[in-house]
C-alpha cells in the first residue's frame, strides 16, 4: 500500500520548550493510524502541524502530495480535522453549523444540503438538527464536532481525542463511526490516551511520549517487544495501600514489572500461573484482601510500561 502521509523529522518548539522532537512516520492509504500517548505527550501539537495550523519549527510533512510548509492550502483541501476541544457555534443549530462549515470548504447549493443531510444521518442527529448546539449533551456536541470534519469527504481525517469526557454509549457510537468511515476508504489519524481505543481501531499504532515517537507498528509487532508476557490485574479495596503491595510484588522472582494504575495493581510476568500463589500470599501477609484478579494477554499498556516504566494513564 502507498503512503498518503509522510512525516519527516517534524519538530515544534514553544519558546524554549520542545513539545515535539523530530518525529518521523508514514500513514498508509486507507488505514487507521493511532497516536497513543499520555497527557502532554505532543499529540495535539503534532496534529496542529499536520493540519497546517502551526508551522513546524523544523521538518516537514507531506499529505497526499502537498507539503504542510510549502503548500498549506493544498493540504487543507484534502484533510478533515476534528479538534480535541469542541469548536462549534453554540448559538447555531447543528444543521446551521454543518452548512456554515461546509461553505468554508467550498460546498454550496443542493450538493451542500444533501451532504449535510448525509452527515446528520451518519452522526445520528437528524431529529435534533434544528436545535441549537448549546442545548446538546456533551456526547451530541462531540458528534457534531466530528460531523464538521467529514463534510467535504476528506481523504485524510485527523481526529484528536474525539471521545474525551463522554458517556460510554456516545463513545461506542463514535468508535463505530470511525470504523465505518474507514471502510468507506477514508484514511484516519486518531490520537488517544486510551489503550483500548487504539487496540480496537488501529491497523498501526505510534506510541508518543514527551514529544518522542518511542515505538511504531501493528499491535502484534509492538506487543512482541515486551516478549512473551502476561499481565495480572489485581483489584484491591479502596482503603488499602496499593503502592506498598506493588513494591512487595517486585521482590517476587518471576515478576518483571509491578505498577499501580487507578488503584489497581498491574503485574507483568512471563507466566501468570507461576506467580499467582506468591502474589496472593504477599497480599495475605499484609492483610490486604484481593477482590479479583484478571489475567490479560500482552497489550499496549504493557508496551508503554515496558518502554517508559510509567503507566499510560495517570
Amino acid at each position: 500500500m502507498t503512503s498518503i502521509l509522510q512525516v519527516q523529522n517534524l519538530s515544534k518548539n514553544y519558546g524554549e520548550f520542545t513539545a515535539v522532537k523530530g518525529i518521523t512516520f508514514d500513514i498508509k492509504q486507507g488505514e487507521i493510524f493511532s497516536l497513543l500517548g499520555p497527557n502532554g505527550a505532543g499529540k495535539t501539537t503534532t496534529i496542529s502541524m499536520l493540519s497546517t495550523l502551526y508551522a513546524p519549527t523544523s521538518g516537514d510533512a507531506i499529505v497526499d502530495g502537498h507539503s504542510v510548509t510549502k503548500d498549506p492550502m493544498g493540504v487543507r483541501n484534502v484533510i478533515g480535522v476534528v479538534p480535541q476541544d469542541l469548536a462549534l457555534y453554540e448559538d447555531l443549530t447543528a444543521r446551521e453549523n454543518l452548512i456554515f462549515w461546509g461553505q468554508m470548504y467550498g460546498l454550496s447549493g443542493q450538493p451542500l444540503k444533501n451532504r449535510v443531510d448525509e452527515v446528520l444521518g451518519q452522526i445520528g442527529l437528524m431529529d435534533k438538527a434544528k436545535d441549537r448546539v448549546k442545548t446538546y449533551s456533551g456526547g451530541m456536541k462531540r458528534r457534531v464536532n466530528i460531523g464538521v470534519g467529514l463534510l467535504h469527504k476528506p481523504k485524510v481525517l485527523f481526529m484528536d481525542e474525539p471521545t474525551v469526557g463522554i458517556d460510554p454509549q456516545s463513545r461506542r457510537a463514535i468508535l463505530d463511526t470511525v470504523k465505518d468511515l474507514n471502510k468507506q476508504g477514508m484514511t484516519v489519524l486518531y490520537t488517544t490516551h486510551y489503550m483500548e481505543e487504539a487496540e480496537e481501531l488501529s491497523n498501526r499504532v505510534g506510541i508518543i511520549d514527551h514529544g518522542d515517537l518511542i515505538a511504531i507498528g501493528t499491535q502484534k509487532e509492538l506487543t512482541q517487544q515486551v516478549g512473551e508476557t502476561e499481565t495480572l490485574i489485581l483489584h484491591i479495596s479502596e482503603n488499602d495501600d496499593p503502592a506498598a503491595l506493588a513494591t512487595a510484588f517486585k521482590g517476587i522472582k518471576e515478576v518483571l514489572e509491578a505498577n499501580v494504575i487507578n488503584h489497581e495493581i498491574s503485574v507483568i510476568t512471563p507466566s501468570a500461573k507461576d506467580v499467582l500463589a506468591s502474589v496472593v500470599s504477599k497480599a495475605n501477609e499484609r492483610g490486604i484482601k484481593i477482590h479479583s484478579i484478571d489475567i490479560r494477554e500482552p497489550n499496549l499498556e504493557a508496551v508503554f510500561l515496558h518502554l517508559t516504566g510509567r503507566a499510560l494513564r495517570d
Partner: protein
C-alpha cells in the same frame, strides 16, 4: 470574497441570537430614547405620567418679559393637569411653605432677571455686553418630594435652555451687527426686546417641546424635534457597544476554537478577518436601521432625507467599526475588549453629545469630540433632521470614512504583531 460574505452573515445571525447583545443593541437605546423623550416632555402632549397637580409656588420679582414668560409657562393649557401653581410676592414665605412640605417647590425669579438676559441700551453703549452678570432663577425644591420637584426643575431648565439659546444667538448676532455698523445700539435694544417678546409669546401649543429655532437663509424658522437629537444620540452610543461586541467575537472565536478551525479550512486569514469585520459592519448597520425604523414607527420621528440617512448610517458604522477593530487589536482577551469597549462607549457617548448637547460642553471637549464617530454622525443626523440632504453631509461623511480608514490601517498593523493562531 464569497467566504468573507458568508462569515459576516454568520456573525450577524449570531449577534441577533444573543439575548444580552440584543438588549444592548436595540432595547437599551430604544428605552433610553423613550425615557429621555418623556423627561424632556416630548410626549407630554399625550403621555400621562401618572403625576398630576404638583403644587408649586412662583415668586416673580422680575415682572418683565422673561419673568412673566416663565410664570406664564405654568399656567398654560398643557401644564394644567400636571402643575397647580400659586403666586406670591414673598420669597421667604414661599421657602417656608416648601420647608413645611406644603408645596413641591418654590420658583423665585429675582428682580432684574430680564435685564440680565436682554442687554439694555446702556450696557451696549458701555460696551460691556459680555460682562453681564447672569442673575439666576432659584428653584427651591422640597427634598421629600424628589419626583415632583424634579419635574418642576426640568420645566424651569427647559425654559432656561430656551432663553439661553435665544440669548446666545441673539446676543452674538446683535453684537456682530453693531460691530459691523449695520445697526445702532438703540436698534439693538429694540431687537433684544423683540427677542424677549418672542419668547414670551411662544408658549402656545408646544410649550414644552424644546424647539431649536434655526433660522434659515430666508428667515424662516425650521422646527426641530428634540427626539431627532436624542434618538440618534442613543443609537450611536450603543453602536459603539455593537462594534466592541463584534471585536470581542474575534478573540472569542480564538478561545472557543472556531478561529483555529477556520484556519485549517481552505480559507485564508485575510478572508477570515475580512469576514469578521464585515460581520461587525453588517450588525452595526442592521442595528442602526432597526432603531431608525422603530423610532419612526413608534415616535413618529422624522429622520429626514432617506438617502442621506442611509449613507450617513453606513459611514457612521464604518467609522465605529474602525474603533471596534482598534480596541480588539489592543486587547488581549475577550473580556478586555468588553470592558474597554464599555468604557469607550460611555466616554464617546458623553463626548459625542449623546447626553448633553455638544454646544454645552467646554470648547476643548468639543475639539476632542472630533475623534468620536458619535459627534460627527450626530452632527449629520441633526443636519438631516433640520431638513438637510446628502449634499449637506460632506463634512461628517468624509470625516467618518477617513476615521474608519485610519483606524483600520492602525489595527491591521497591530494585528500583524498579534498571534491569532496560538492560544
Amino acid at each position: 470574497m464569497l467566504k468573507t460574505f458568508l462569515i459576516g452573515i454568520k456573525d450577524l445571525r449570531l449577534a441577533f441570537r444573543d439575548r444580552a447583545a440584543l438588549t444592548f443593541m436595540l432595547a437599551a437605546p430604544f428605552v433610553l430614547t423613550l425615557g429621555l423623550g418623556l423627561v424632556t416632555g416630548r410626549f407630554s402632549g399625550n403621555a400621562n405620567t401618572g403625576i398630576t397637580n404638583i403644587p408649586v409656588i412662583i415668586v416673580n420679582l422680575d415682572d418683565e418679559q422673561l419673568g412673566d414668560a416663565l410664570a406664564n409657562v405654568f399656567t398654560t393649557e398643557e401644564l394644567a393637569e400636571l402643575v397647580e401653581p400659586t403666586f406670591s410676592e414673598d420669597a421667604e414665605a414661599a421657602r417656608l411653605l416648601v420647608d413645611e412640605d406644603q408645596t413641591a417647590a418654590a420658583i423665585i425669579i429675582p428682580a432684574g432677571f430680564t435685564q440680565s438676559v436682554i442687554p439694555s441700551q446702556d450696557s451696549f453703549a458701555a460696551g460691556n455686553v459680555e460682562l453681564q452678570q447672569n442673575i439666576q432663577i432659584e428653584v427651591y425644591a422640597n427634598p421629600s418630594r424628589p419626583t415632583s420637584a424634579g419635574i418642576i426643575k426640568s420645566i424651569v431648565d427647559e425654559f432656561m435652555s430656551r432663553v439661553e439659546e435665544g440669548r446666545v444667538s441673539g446676543q452674538t448676532s446683535i453684537l456682530q451687527m453693531i460691530l459691523t455698523g449695520r445697526i445702532t445700539p438703540q436698534q439693538a435694544e429694540q431687537a433684544g426686546l423683540e427677542m424677549g417678546e418672542r419668547l414670551q409669546n411662544s408658549p402656545d401649543t408646544d410649550a414644552l417641546a424644546i424647539t431649536l429655532n434655526s433660522t434659515t437663509a430666508d428667515g424662516e424658522a425650521a422646527q426641530f424635534d428634540i427626539l431627532a437629537y436624542l434618538a440618534p444620540g442613543m443609537a450611536l452610543m450603543f453602536l459603539m457597544y455593537t462594534v466592541s461586541y463584534g471585536g470581542r467575537s474575534i478573540l472569542a472565536e480564538k478561545t472557543q476554537g472556531t478561529l483555529p478551525r477556520l484556519l485549517v479550512t481552505p480559507t485564508n486569514s485575510t478572508q477570515i478577518l475580512g469576514g469578521k469585520v464585515f460581520g461587525i459592519f453588517l450588525t452595526g448597520a442592521a442595528q442602526m436601521l432597526i432603531l431608525i425604523g422603530a423610532t419612526t414607527l413608534f415616535f413618529q420621528l422624522k429622520w429626514g432625507d432617506g438617502i442621506g440617512v442611509v449613507v450617513l448610517v453606513l459611514a457612521a458604522v464604518f467609522g465605529a467599526t474602525g474603533w471596534g477593530m482598534l480596541i480588539t487589536a489592543l486587547a488581549r482577551t475577550p473580556a478586555q475588549v468588553g470592558s474597554i469597549g464599555t468604557a469607550i462607549m460611555l466616554i464617546f457617548g458623553i463626548m459625542g453629545g449623546s447626553f448633553i448637547s455638544l454646544d454645552q460642553l467646554p470648547p476643548f471637549v468639543q475639539t476632542i469630540a472630533k475623534i468620536t464617530p458619535n459627534a460627527w454622525a450626530l452632527d449629520g443626523f441633526t443636519t438631516l433632521g433640520l431638513g438637510g440632504t446628502l449634499t449637506d453631509l460632506s463634512a461628517p461623511i468624509t470625516a467618518l470614512l477617513s476615521m474608519g480608514m485610519i483606524l483600520f490601517l492602525a489595527s491591521v498593523l497591530l494585528f500583524g504583531k498579534k498571534n491569532l493562531v496560538q492560544k
